[in-house]
């Protein structure tokens, strides 16, 4: 957790980054944040975050690009919706977190392991139309490389138990028939989004 002391120097604002974030799909909502901290006390993974959502929103307002993009806050968000339900300003905080993950990936801030997981998941959708857990897992470890083998070994008991109880099919289900169409839909949606952005 970051320190809470007041900076001895004046805060240098960088409005370029703030404006970039405000232009994201749900980004403008951040301007409504009144720093009440309801999200911070509601968050299920707050203790695992560098900054609570409240602090992260403040950093965005200050234009602190590196702090925001490198933080694990959005990656620790599990989309449990507690903050979204409780926010007195009606900010869809979870949806803002989706945007921030998206922005971090686009800008190449992908060192948090969740970024690899998210990309593996999306790749699975694009290549099959459905998500196969074994496929996501394989893609994840390929992306993360050898460093992650240790954690994989630590979790091997979980995997073995799942295999024993037929919870981990080794073969993927068939690709959807309309995969070609789905890919066209995705391509179109992504080009539309670029035009708007």
């Amino acid at each position: 957790m970051a320190g809470c002391q007041v900076s001895p120097e004046a805060v240098r604002y960088d409005p370029a980054f703030s404006r970039e974030v405000y232009r994201l799909e749900n980004g403008a909502q951040i301007k409504k944040c009144m720093q009440c901290g309801m999200c911070a006390v509601s968050c299920a993974t707050r203790t695992k975050m560098n900054y609570s959502p409240r602090r992260l929103f403040n950093l965005i307002k200050q234009g602190k690009k590196e702090e925001v993009m490198k933080s694990n806050t959005m990656w620790m968000c599990t989309s449990c919706l507690m903050c979204k339900v409780r926010c007195p300003r009606g900010i869809a905080i979870v949806d803002v977190m989706h945007d921030l993950k998206n922005l971090a990936i686009e800008k190449g801030y992908v060192t948090h392991p969740q970024a690899a997981f998210y990309q593996a998941f999306w790749k699975e959708i694009v290549s099959r139309g459905r998500v196969f857990e074994g496929g996501v897992t394989a893609r994840y470890y390929l992306k993360r490389g050898l460093g992650e083998i240790k954690s994989a070994l630590e979790m091997k008991d979980v995997g073995m138990a799942m295999l024993r109880h037929n919870r981990l099919p080794l073969l993927p289900p068939r690709k959807i028939k309309g995969l070609g169409g789905l890919r066209k839909i995705i391509a179109k949606a992504q080009s539309q989004r670029k035009e708007v952005g």
């Binding site: 959005m74 993950k101 969740q114 997981f117 857990e133 289900p173 539309q192």
Partner: protein, 292 residues
């Protein structure tokens, strides 16, 4: 009671026991489920982190477009699929600009969605379309004496808050447990996050979150947990051993899909109970009911 049915990817993998119990239970209650042909992954809450909400919702909308001609309510059992499909549907109905844009994208595959359908969560359907009285009437093996923690999970109630039950302290699952003849226990963590998809990237998040939930269920005297969410079920069941290992605990709480418990209470054929898929054995908890 006819529905378009969206199973979701997990029902083809880790949540096979959900589908194996859900379909016969639905049939026993007079529900007809018609699977959406060639459905695709809804994107869950993960895809939008890579490609943004818009693209994710267009991907989800392909399913609604495929279902629309059937003109039936879309029944969703997975909480994350429900979130994705219900919010997409809402946007089609309320945001004209979005609808126009999204339909341009869907047109690339010859599809169109007008926003005419309703997306329904299975617990809400159980409570409102089927009704607790109907469920109670179907019970042939009352689960008398069984203490159950109804773990609703986080997204089920909070996707469309205040439209159905309380987003933080819902009672829908507790009423269902009662209807089956079992006893719902006091369970303050019933909608707390289980750690979701952090299993691979940050196991500690999941293990810590799941520990709190299991502790809360155990403190209420529960002999088992039931849930409507595939992710919650997998985390609490498959990672319970890791919770015990990393937190020096001795939890042995079986975690079933609520439909598995319904199949038992309805006395449907044992294969519909799908108990062999349970990683934490349910047989100690179920022994008093004569189930071995």
């Amino acid at each position: 009671m006819r529905y378009s049915f969206y199973p979701g990817c997990s029902m083809e993998g880790t949540a096979v026991p959900y589908r194996k119990s859900l379909e016969p239970v639905a049939e026993a209650l007079g529900m007809q489920l018609e699977e959406i042909p060639d459905w695709n992954c809804c994107g869950a809450t993960v895809a939008s982190g890579v490609v943004g909400d818009y693209t994710q919702q267009v991907v989800a909308a392909r399913n609604l477009a495929l279902a629309e001609s059937g003109n039936l309510d879309v029944l969703v059992a997975c909480s994350s699929c429900f979130l994705s499909l219900a919010l997409t549907n809402r946007r089609f109905q309320e945001d004209e600009h979005f609808r126009r844009q999204a339909n341009e994208a869907l047109a690339e595959a010859g599809l169109k969605y007008n926003g005419s359908l309703k997306v329904r969560q299975i617990l809400e359907v159980m409570a409102n379309d089927v009704g607790y009285e109907q469920i109670r009437a179907r019970v042939k093996r009352p689960l008398t004496g069984l203490k159950v923690a109804g773990y609703v999970g986080c997204q089920t109630m909070r996707t469309l808050p205040w439209e159905f039950d309380d987003p933080e302290h819902p009672v829908v699952l507790d009423r269902l447990i009662e209807a089956l003849g079992a006893t719902p226990v006091e369970f303050p963590m019933k909608t707390r996050c289980c750690g979701s998809s952090q299993a691979l990237p940050a196991e500690k998040v999941l293990v810590d979150a799941s520990r709190e939930i299991l502790e809360s269920a155990a403190a209420g005297g529960a002999q088992m947990l039931i849930t409507p969410c595939p992710m919650c079920q997998l985390n609490l069941d498959a990672y319970q051993g890791r919770v015990n290992q990393l937190h020096q605990q001795n939890f042995a709480l079986p975690v079933l899909f609520f439909t598995q418990l319904m199949a038992i209470a309805f006395d449907l054929p044992p294969e519909t109970w799908a108990l062999k898929y349970c990683i934490v054995s349910p047989f100690t908890a179920l022994a008093p009911l004569g189930i071995r």
